[in-house]
């Protein structure tokens, strides 16, 4: 990320260029089936996750290797989160949630490698993940409770006169969920990467004094590592919260 083409001096910073989609095999037109750099980095993410979770635990040793204990820790962590937030019956959907968590975590962390591409900074990617969660959770709610799922919007603890208004607000907030769910993740990534790029631009422009922005980049990079993990956690835990709403509707 640092030092690509900004060394020319002057504040010629283009922090948003790093999110540009490019077709992998030349050409300019991007159709829905064109493999782009986002495709490549998502593929690498899947490979990394598979390496950890499939190859890492293949030994099934009693005394785990480093990879195996890391994989077991992630597994246990997500499982406990699902159980705590959404209850025991949500464990049926634990594989989906673990997949989400691992994909987002690895995509975030791989996107942080200098000169790589942050696939989860694309709203198309995060939006798809969020809409998938939204559709899944709504389907589970209607499948489990039928029309009783609509009790989620009918706040029975409120005064009767207030309930239609609250129902309207609840419906709106329900349908805004995928929007905020996806934009939270994508926006955090865009913000973090853009800040890093802006500081890299300073480093290119300042000459000898660029020690200060470079030190700042190191500090921000540490912060971003934290943000990446926390955002993966937040995305997953919100999925659990939505799942909990679908499994136990009504207030």
């Amino acid at each position: 990320m640092a030092g690509d083409a900004h060394e020319g001096g002057g504040f010629n910073i283009h922090p948003m260029d790093q999110f540009e989609l490019k077709p992998l095999f030349g050409g300019d037109v991007i159709h829905w089936y064109t493999p782009t750099n986002a495709t490549l980095w998502m593929l690498l993410t899947v490979i990394a996750v598979s390496l950890l979770m499939v190859a890492g635990v293949r030994g099934r040793a009693l005394i785990p290797s480093r990879a195996q204990s890391a994989a077991e820790m992630v597994y246990g962590f997500v499982r406990k989160m699902v159980e705590d937030v959404a209850g025991k019956e949500a464990l049926k959907y634990f594989p989906y949630i673990l997949t989400l968590f691992l994909f987002i975590l690895f995509a975030n962390l791989i996107g942080l490698i200098p000169a790589s591409f942050a696939s989860t900074a694309q709203f198309a990617v995060t939006g798809f993940l969020a809409i998938a969660v939204f559709v899944t959770v709504t389907a589970i709610g209607f499948y489990k409770h039928g029309a009783g799922f609509l009790k989620l919007f009918w706040v029975s603890s409120a005064p009767l006169a207030l309930r239609p208004i609250l129902a309207l607000i609840e419906v709106i907030s329900y349908f805004v969920r995928p929007v905020s769910h996806s934009i939270r993740l994508g926006g955090n990534l865009i913000a973090g990467h853009a800040v890093l790029k802006v500081f890299a631009g300073f480093a290119g422009a300042l000459g000898l004094a660029s020690v200060a922005p470079i030190l700042a980049i190191v500090a921000i990079y540490g912060l971003e590592l934290l943000v990446m993990v926390v955002q993966a956690y937040v995305f997953t835990i919100l999925t659990c919260v939505y799942l909990n709403d679908a499994l136990h509707p009504g207030h």
Binding site: S180, I183, R184, G187, N188, A191, V230, V234, I237
Partner: protein, 78 residues
């Protein structure tokens, strides 16, 4: 000239939208600070509530991210 004024409006608007990011900072600080105040009074109950803490932070932060998004749209997409 007119283009310049429109661009000035974009930049001013983006700067105003960035205020929202600071406001989200206040919100996140409130959430975390109150959590810490409560956690120090009753440390035994704090561990189970970290999930709630992160959910609260996420909701507060989302609005800041929306403000940031508006700023980005003004800068690059209008």
């Amino acid at each position: 000239m007119e283009g310049d004024i429109a661009q000035m409006g974009q930049f001013i608007g983006a700067g105003l939208a960035a205020i929202g990011c600071g406001a989200a900072g206040i919100g996140v600080g409130h959430v975390a600070g109150n959590f810490l105040a409560g956690a120090l009074r009753n440390p035994a109950a704090a561990g189970e509530q970290t999930a709630t803490l992160f959910i609260g932070i996420a909701f507060a932060e989302a609005l800041g991210i929306f403000a940031f998004l508006v700023a980005l749209l003004l800068m690059f997409a209008v």
